[in-house]
């Protein structure tokens, strides 16, 4: 796959550390993320995956370290030195965040169409017809029927909610999407369909993605590179196939070998 078109990284992470009091959330994490690249962060519960993701997405300030992002004008900016207004604009235009629990990422009391249209309206779109047409188009892309556009997400199944959340995030054509266990809590067939959809969208839109998952199969299917975390530290990283087929660290070997083979 020739998705690594640019040599300039989109996101640069330098020694990001987060403490919760005396306890370590994640420690000394550094990596570069390039445009069009999908990075999976794997590890068991409590290994610091979500802490790291929250630090990256400016939802949780790191105790130490720096995170730089290449803005649309090409300049590299430290995320935690942006003004609140800049950061919010970034989060609703250039970025997406897909929560594990779709209800966290959706407005449950407004219709699906309004959920998808919210970002458009937030950046100044004021034409109802256009907003609705765009929302309809995006619902189609995530395989939600047009006639559900005026229904509340409350009436949607888990899988549909997750797809709606993805549409809502992608409508402004972001360049970077964070995903926290996007397939968690879904049954296996729905998971497979969602993964197919995600893979297609990521490839079509050339998205950069940081995906947190404890499911190695998800990492295998979606990601180009993988980072294995344990007790707040990155213990192994590399190309996904390489790490999963030939794990070096004992812990990674344990992780890989603990997948049930049906």
């Amino acid at each position: 796959m020739s998705v690594f078109m640019s040599e300039e990284p989109l996101l640069q992470v330098h020694n990001v550390t987060r403490y919760y009091g005396d306890r370590i959330g994640c420690s000394n994490v550094s990596f570069d993320l390039f445009p069009g690249e999908v990075l999976a962060i794997v590890g068991e519960s409590g290994s610091g995956k979500t802490t790291l993701l929250n630090c990256l997405s400016t939802r949780l300030a790191p105790t130490a370290g720096a995170i730089e992002y290449r803005m649309r004008d090409g300049s590299m900016r430290n995320l935690y030195q942006l003004t609140e207004a800049e950061r919010r604009l970034l989060m609703r235009t250039d970025w997406g965040f897909v929560h594990q629990n779709a209800a966290d990422g959706l407005r449950m009391n407004v219709s699906a169409g309004a959920n998808v249209g919210e970002r458009l309206m937030a950046v100044g779109d004021r034409h109802y017809g256009n907003i609705r047409a765009t929302a309809d188009d995006w619902l189609g892309r995530v395989e939600i029927d047009s006639d559900r556009i005026d229904d509340d997400p409350r009436s949607f199944s888990g899988g549909m909610r997750q797809r709606l959340q993805i549409a809502r995030n992608l409508v402004t054509r972001p360049r970077l999407v964070f995903m926290d266990e996007p397939t968690g809590g879904l049954d296996v067939s729905v998971q497979a369909r969602l993964l197919d959809l995600l893979r297609r969208l990521v490839a079509d839109l050339g998205l950069s993605v940081v995906i947190v998952t404890h499911d190695l199969a998800v990492a295998r299917l979606l990601s180009h590179r993988i980072m294995v975390m344990r007790q707040g530290n990155v213990i192994e990283s590399g190309l996904t196939d390489q790490v999963l087929d030939d794990p070096r660290e004992p812990y990674t070997q344990l992780l890989v070998s603990s997948i049930l083979q049906v």
Partner: protein, 308 residues
């Protein structure tokens, strides 16, 4: 010793009920509100001798701006003689001893509950609104910390989400009162629950508008000649309510009408919500389709005067 202190010594109310320090505090909030049109200024709202919801915010604002020469008009849903208006007018008559009036043009301060008079206001007048919930974003975002931030960052996309929902569910913007406006191209503001019919009057109004929310402890203001735009979509522009009949009593058109049920057989009439405007028109000789015979009105009027 000035008059105020003298009255105080006799165990009377201070002029207009509130003590002078409280008035200063409220005036500061009002001045700040005028300086930043549409911005909700927090203030230390006092307990008033009336329940929340009766206009404690408006009363405090009025009390702080009243002078001895002012002439006060009180409006409750357009009318001068319904409970709220009568009680609050009585309150200020008792505590400030100032002149009160029903006539819009005679008043210098008009406190209103949810209507703006039909007659154009002038630079010499101040319109005080009673506000139950000052935060236009409240029902979309329950956290006060978040709504403040949204105001600070002009993050108003959510407001349009609400209007979008209206159109998606009803085919048109179904919000008919407390219709959100953008003041001076900056702050989104709730013009208190006035019918959206009155929204165009807020724009470039000659009179100063003050909004007081007692329970929520907020004051905001729109200075004279300020641009106020009702939010809408390009393809669903803002529209006011239209009435297909004129006022039943005075025949006025393009005014806001109240529906009055006449009997239990479906009889009804529509009359001006602004009672002073309606009476003035009738006095000028205008008559609507349901008005009584002019002679009967005169007899009726005479009887009332005799009783008094």
């Amino acid at each position: 010793m000035n008059d105020t202190a003298e009255i105080y010594d006799q165990g009377e109310y201070n002029f207009a009920y509130l003590d002078e320090q409280t008035k200063r505090m409220i005036r500061r909030a009002i001045l700040k509100g005028i300086a930043i049109p549409g911005y909700q200024v927090p203030f230390a709202s006092r307990e008033m001798p009336m329940p929340y919801g009766w206009g404690t915010g408006g009363v405090q604002v009025t009390a702080s701006i009243l002078g001895k020469d002012d002439c006060l008009k009180m409006i409750d849903q357009g009318s001068d003689d319904t409970t709220n208006a009568v009680s609050l007018r009585g309150f200020f008559e008792k505590t400030a001893g100032i002149r009160t009036t029903y006539e819009t043009s005679e008043a210098t301060v008009i406190q209103t509950r949810h209507r703006i008079p039909e007659k154009n206001l002038t630079e010499n007048q101040v319109l005080v609104f009673q506000v139950p919930i000052p935060e236009p974003l409240r029902f979309l975002e329950p956290r006060e910390t978040e709504t403040r931030k949204m105001h600070a960052l002009e993050d108003y996309g959510l407001m349009h989400v609400k209007l979008y929902e209206d159109i998606a569910k009803n085919g048109h913007i179904a919000t008919t009162y407390a219709y959100p406006v953008k003041v001076n191209d900056r702050y989104v503001m709730d013009p208190s629950p006035t019918p959206k019919f009155d929204n165009p009057k807020i724009d470039q109004m000659e009179a100063l508008q003050l909004y007081g929310a007692g329970r929520e402890k907020r004051i905001y203001a729109i200075p004279p000649y300020t641009k106020v735009k009702s939010l809408d979509f390009e393809d669903y522009p803002f529209e006011v309510q239209k009435f297909d009949k004129p006022c039943g009593l005075c025949g006025a058109e393009n005014v806001y009408l109240d529906e009055v049920i006449l009997d239990d057989k479906g009889g009804r009439m529509f009359v001006c919500s602004d009672s002073d405007y309606c009476e003035e028109r009738r006095a000028e000789g205008h008559a609507g389709p349901m008005a009584a015979d002019p002679a009967a009105i005169q007899i009726g009027g005479a009887t009332v005067e005799e009783t008094i």
